[in-house]
Amino acid sequence: MAKKLMKGNEAIGEAAIVAGAQAYFCYPITPQTEVAEYLAKRMPEVGGVFVQAESELAASQMIFGAAAAGARVFTTSSSPGISLMSEAMSYIAAAELPAVFINIIRCGPGLGGILPSQGDYLQATKGGGHGDYRFLVLAPSTIQETVDLTIEAFRLADKYRNPVMLIGDGLIGQMMEPVDFEGRTAPPRLDTSGWATTGCAGREPHIVKTLFLDPNVLEQRNRKMRDKYEQMKREEVRFETYLCDDAPELLVAAYGTTARVVRTAVDRLREEGVKVGMFRPISVFPFPDEPLRQQALVPSVKAVLVVEMSMGQMLEDVERALQGRRPLHFFGRGGGNVPAPEELVRECRRLLGNGQGGR
């Protein structure tokens, strides 16, 4: 099959169908509404379920119900909607249900605006809902990668019986790029017969619940979930390096759309003979601590620059990974502004020019 020019939001919808999603519950919100529009048409064509709920609260709890009934399910939303879904996210994680959430992030806080942002990084990677849980979080930077990671998200949700979130800024949702679905297939489905509520014919009843009043029972569940997150840290770390193998002087860390701008800036600096490399986390929980530290501690690297469309969120993970062993700098844009390659080139030159550390 030839490559197809698709808008990010539509590609997400098609990728979910390729991944075997059986049900999609949603509520309209800019800039991801095209996913809903696409699936309103497509889901019935493939025998799937499409429901436009009365709110994100309800849509995400429909995800709970359908996931606990054994279906492969997902939803998409954008920042304010994700806040409302955070209630269900906690319950879905607590009940160890596989489900995929996609957040096409818009600028905030509050209603904020409808332009791209990376301001939900901390919400996605450090919780969002209440209680002691984590999502596995992936951050694509192209539409093709969005397609591939959407399919992968369904596999990982099943592997861990844990919700997986894809975070893309508004550009990922709105941009059009050629995408290839060739060779992409649905990941094998988890056997849900041991716990899904499907009617108890021929077996004891199944109960899917999150209330555990005995502290020792609940602590045991907390520990089991912790073990899953530790396993994710061992097995699911994903990242990309760009021009990091020839002793760069400056390492720039960025993810998502921002990493594409950084790549352009790195190319321009390289043309001038300035040795800059890029480190791009693809999994942001688990965060690639060790690979980033290794790249940053190459003797030639004088400093690390974090670039984000926020006032500094992934910055905290980078700071933690570096353990203070390299000077750390930050460049952020907000309000829906996307950093321009020129300003990044200037910033890199400035940092290498004065050679001083600390932010």
Partner: protein
């Protein structure tokens, strides 16, 4: 002497368990009516119940069928999710008045309005039970609770929310009935309504909703007998019993 005949036993859809409900509480009666219905219609093995947040959160410890436990007020959303992916199963939500009539108002109205083909048993006892007797949307005028210690002031808190009557206004076909369980006669009527609700679901006819007026002697500060009398004298005149809407009756234009 013939063989002894069993004329009353625990329904197969109930577990052999002691409930945690307070003495005089009518949750047990309502559980039994649902369980009898599942038995009689042969539905237990394809039924999925949804427990709410409130006194009946542990309902899955008493019913002997598959169950999910919902976040506060969201049982109709879970039920929608289940029913849409497993349309041939029987799904019911069991919800109290804080859960359904306060925090879950949007979910219940929209599930009913979409005509989701599941059943809701709405237990209305005019108070928040599990948290210890706070004012509910269904608390009666001048009724004293811990959060309206001088009695419900309808000028500040409004009048009790008549959910069955509200849902009956929707154009989407559904079955809506309000019953009570404070006397044997009312229990028999409640059983008929609950059975009808599940029957409509089994026939994939429509959404079905039964509001059951229930007692809370503990938080009302009454004996079980006084509670039944209070339900009859105070709640029934306001929350009028009877059939509110039926799929067999065309909507009034």
């Amino acid at each position: 002497m013939g063989e002894p005949i069993t004329i009353f036993k625990r329904p197969a859809s109930l577990r052999d368990a002691f409930t945690h409900y307070c003495p005089g509480c009518t949750h047990g009666v309502i559980h039994r009516l649902i369980a009898e219905t599942l038995d009689e219609l042969g539905l237990r093995e394809r039924t999925i119940g949804i427990a709410p947040v409130g006194c009946s959160v542990l309902a899955y410890n008493y019913f002997y069928c598959d169950f999910q436990e919902a976040a506060h007020g969201r049982a109709p959303a879970l039920a929608t999710g289940i029913k849409r992916v497993l349309p041939d199963r029987i799904v019911f939500t069991y919800q109290g008045d804080g859960d359904l009539a306060s925090i879950g108002t949007a979910e219940i109205v929209h599930a009913a309005n979409r005509g989701e083909k599941f059943t809701t048993i709405f237990v209305n006892n005019a108070i928040y039970g599990m948290t210890g007797g706070q004012m509910a949307p269904t608390t009666m005028p001048n009724q004293v609770t811990t959060t309206c210690p001088r009695g419900r002031d309808v000028n500040l808190a409004g009048w009790p929310l008549p959910v069955a009557d509200l849902l009956a206004q929707l154009r989407t076909p559904s079955y809506v009935e309000r019953v009570a369980v404070h006397t044997p006669r009312h229990i028999i009527q409640a059983k008929r309504a609950i059975r009808q609700a599940f029957q409509y679901q089994a026939e994939r006819r429509c959404y079905s909703f039964v509001e059951v007026l229930s007692t809370c002697p503990t938080n009302w500060g009454k004996t079980p007998a006084e509670a039944c009398q209070w339900l009859d004298e105070v709640m029934v005149p306001y929350f009028k019993l009877g059939l509110k809407k039926s799929p067999d009756r065309p909507p009034v234009e």
